[in-house]
Every structure is written in structure tokens, then in C-alpha cells.
């Protein structure tokens, strides 16, 4: 798009929108036009919301979640179970578990998983902080809710080893048949894991 068609402000807006996940330059232009056409109803409130978020949102110093208060709403909620701690890879996983509404304990966000490929070691994650938190805390069960990948489970095993001296129960999410899944369409690995974990 040339500057005669759109000014530098609009071009910058399109460039930035194109950096969002799922959007390329073409869809960024559509989003930008959509926002510009609804300036008062959408663009201005969105800009205000983004500005406010940038100014106020921080990472929780206890669990690693994002929130406007310190500690975050999950950590400061008085009605949550103080004895169970769920360890997740990243904030989207915490949000996913909260959406499911099946867990009412506390969380700990690792900030990634161990990955030899990407050069991520234990010191790059908040594992030491987790061990401190568990050692000095009221937790009796630690749930390792990490992805069922080589890196995710390598991290889970590593954390389980690190937590051994703390004497807490360490559990993991089950791996197996998803709800609505048909056996015929499952990959061999999932099927074998599901069969091993039968109950």
C-alpha cells in the first residue's frame, strides 16, 4: 500500500496488527479498515483498553500469571484450595484450566519447558522458585499439567525429581483418549498410553 492511499500512521497500525498470531498483511489491512470504520465504537475503546493494559498489567510475582493486581486474582482468592498446586508451562495453559473450571487450587507458571533443541535449561525456567514455594508452603499435592510432548514430560520428570525432598505427592495429567475421540482415529502412541493407563 503506498503512502498516497494511507498515511504512515495507518501503515504502522497495519504493520503492528500483522504481527499478531493468525494475521498476515492482508488480514491486518482488513482489521485496520474495520477498526477505522468503527472509530468511536471500537478503535478508541480498544486503544484505551490496550493503553490501560500496558500500564497496569504485570506478571504475578507468586505464580507468573498476568493480572492488574499483585499478587494476581487467582493467588489472592481466599476460597481456593491452599494444598494443591498445579504447574503449567505458560499462562494460556493456566487460563485453559480456569476455563474448564475443574481445578480450584493454586498455580505455578514455569515460563516454558526444558528443551535441548532450543537451549532451554532448568535455570531458564522458574523451577527453583517452584521448589522454594513448595518447600516453604502448605502444599500437599503438586499436579504437573504439562504437555504430552517429549520436552513437556522431560520437564515433568525433572520437576518431580527436584520436588522429591519436599515430600509432597506429585501427580500428572492422564494421557489417553480425548472426549469424543474414536479409537479408530487415534494414533498408535496415544492408544498404547491409554491402554497402559486403563483403570
Amino acid at each position: 500500500m503506498s503512502e498516497r492511499v494511507a498515511g504512515p500512521e495507518i501503515l504502522r497500525m497495519i504493520e503492528l496488527i500483522a504481527k499478531l498470531p493468525g494475521l498476515g498483511p492482508r488480514s491486518a489491512r482488513r482489521v485496520a479498515l474495520h477498526l477505522l470504520k468503527r472509530k468511536d465504537g471500537l478503535l478508541v475503546p480498544l486503544a484505551e483498553a490496550l493503553g490501560e493494559a500496558a500500564a497496569k498489567i504485570t506478571q504475578c510475582q507468586v505464580c507468573g500469571n498476568f493480572d492488574t493486581i499483585q499478587p494476581c486474582a487467582v493467588c489472592s482468592a481466599p476460597n481456593r484450595d491452599e494444598t494443591t498446586l498445579c504447574v503449567v508451562e505458560d499462562v494460556p495453559d493456566l487460563w485453559a484450566l480456569e476455563r474448564a473450571g475443574a481445578f480450584r487450587g493454586r498455580y505455578h507458571v514455569l515460563g516454558g519447558v526444558l528443551s535441548a533443541l532450543d537451549g532451554v535449561g532448568p535455570d531458564d525456567l522458574s523451577i527453583a522458585k517452584l521448589v522454594d514455594r513448595v518447600t516453604g508452603g502448605p502444599f500437599t499435592e503438586i499436579i504437573l499439567a504439562l504437555n504430552a510432548t517429549v520436552d513437556g514430560q522431560t520437564t515433568a520428570h525433572y520437576i518431580a525429581e527436584q520436588l522429591e525432598p519436599a515430600g509432597v505427592t506429585v501427580t500428572r495429567l492422564a494421557h489417553g483418549v480425548p472426549v469424543g475421540g474414536e479409537l479408530d482415529h487415534l494414533d498408535d502412541g496415544t492408544l498404547a498410553t491409554a491402554l497402559r493407563a486403563r483403570r
Partner: protein, 247 residues
């Protein structure tokens, strides 16, 4: 240009929203990479876990381009089978990381490691078997990539029996009885590396890992100006804690 081959997945890196750059060790073309369209989708992602076997078809205009992989279903999902086994999973991660660390892309010589790697990966569910096999695999990796140790005869006497140590400098075998004044500077040579029928005790496996670890770090990885990956150190430490190797 097109080719098809059997391969072991060494790793995968996301490309864009739904694509993957897949890194594999093929049976006859060494380590190769290619773009897999839609490879990051939830349905397909599992088959690209490290250690799985896949049948790949590569297409590209020129041999040295990144190219594109069409991947049939994985023929063996090893990663999923090992997810609950801490030590074997770490071994799997170590094997694929070491292969990625030392094999150049497009160098067909890397295929010499395909068969041994496949065998080792297939044995990872057998806890009593794979540790000694792993040492042999590392030993074979050194040989395949031109950094092999000379265990054929004693460097001091030329005799080929009673070999008990290896010189950390030359990589040649030595009779311990002939080098008593240097013995503490030599690396113990486990018997199972020169005699396939010899048993591999926890002490032998520990000595084997010390031996191969020294030459992997000081020669092979040093040749690439790289450190031996941390994951190997973590594997050895866990094997010690599990009592599979002696301290």
C-alpha cells in the same frame, strides 16, 4: 527433485501459524530438513515428536534447498510410549540432541548412524538392555564420524590382549599393567566395548560413559566449537541416582 525414505524424527520447529520445519535422520540421505505444511495442527503434531519413525517424501527444486516434506503416518510412535518413563525419555532426548549436534544437514555420511540409532531407540523400553547399548552407540558415533578410538592393540606394547585403559589424549588403548605411573590419568576401558560377550556391570557402563563422554566433548563437539549438551549430563546423573551406573 524428489525422493522418499524412512527416517527418525530429530526435532521440529514451528514455522508460521501451522507449519513445521521437520528435522530427520534418514536411512540413506543423512540428516535432512523440510517444511511440513499443516504439521503443527493438533491432529498431526504428535507424529513429529523426537524419536518417532516416519516415512518421508521430500520435494524441492534443488537438492540444497530446504524443500518440502510430505509425511505419511508415523510408523512407530516411540515418544508416546516413553512419556511415563523418566530415564528412557531422557535417553531419547539425549540421542536426538546428540545426533542434531554432530550431524551436518545433507551429509549422507550421517546415515551410518541410522541403523544403530533405530536399534537403540527400539530398545529404550528394555531398561536392563539399553544403558550398555547406549554406550556402544556413542562409541559407534565417534567411529562413524571419524573420531574413533583405537582399541585394537596396546599403544605401548602392541599386544592386543589385557587392554584396560584408554589414553585421553590419543584415544589409543593401553594395558594398565604397562602404564602404572600414568594410570590415574588414563580412562578405564570397559570390557564390553572390546568383547561383545563380556557382561556390562554398572561400573562398566559408568566407565563407558566417562570414556565416550570425554571424546564426544573433547573431540567431536569441540570440532564444532560446541559444548556437550547438558541433557547428556542430566541423563548420566539420573542413571547414577537410579543405580544403573556406579558413582
Amino acid at each position: 527433485m524428489n525422493w522418499s525414505d524412512e527416517a527418525i524424527v530429530l526435532g521440529a520447529r514451528r514455522f508460521g501459524e501451522s507449519g513445521l520445519i521437520l528435522d530427520v535422520l534418514t536411512a540413506s540421505r543423512g540428516r535432512r530438513s523440510g517444511l511440513v505444511y499443516g504439521g503443527a495442527s493438533r491432529k498431526k503434531r504428535a507424529q513429529y515428536e523426537p524419536g518417532n519413525s516416519v516415512s518421508v517424501s521430500w520435494s524441492g527444486r534443488l537438492e540444497d534447498q530446504l524443500g518440502r516434506f510430505d509425511v505419511a503416518e508415523s510408523s512407530r510412535d516411540r515418544a508416546a510410549r516413553l512419556l511415563d518413563t523418566s530415564l528412557a525419555l531422557k535417553a531419547l532426548a539425549t540421542i536426538t540432541t546428540l545426533l542434531r549436534g554432530v550431524l551436518d544437514e545433507g551429509d549422507a555420511a550421517g546415515s551410518a548412524l541410522y541403523g544403530p540409532s533405530l536399534l537403540l531407540l527400539d530398545m529404550l523400553e528394555e531398561e536392563g538392555v539399553w544403558p550398555a547399548l547406549y554406550v556402544r552407540w556413542e562409541f559407534g558415533m565417534l567411529s562413524a564420524l571419524g573420531f574413533g578410538l583405537d582399541l585394537s592393540a596396546c599403544a605401548l606394547t602392541g599386544e592386543n590382549d589385557g587392554l584396560t585403559h584408554v589414553s585421553p589424549k590419543t584415544g589409543r588403548a593401553v594395558r594398565g599393567s604397562e602404564a602404572e605411573e600414568y594410570i590415574d590419568r588414563l580412562l578405564p576401558l570397559p570390557g564390553f566395548l572390546i568383547d561383545s560377550a563380556a557382561p556390562a556391570t554398572p561400573g562398566d557402563i559408568a566407565n563407558g560413559l566417562r570414556l565416550t563422554g570425554h571424546f564426544l566433548g573433547e573431540r567431536l563437539f569441540a570440532a564444532y566449537n560446541r559444548q556437550l549438551p547438558d541433557v547428556r549430563g542430566r541423563l548420566v546423573a539420573q542413571m547414577q541416582r537410579a543405580g544403573i551406573i556406579a558413582d
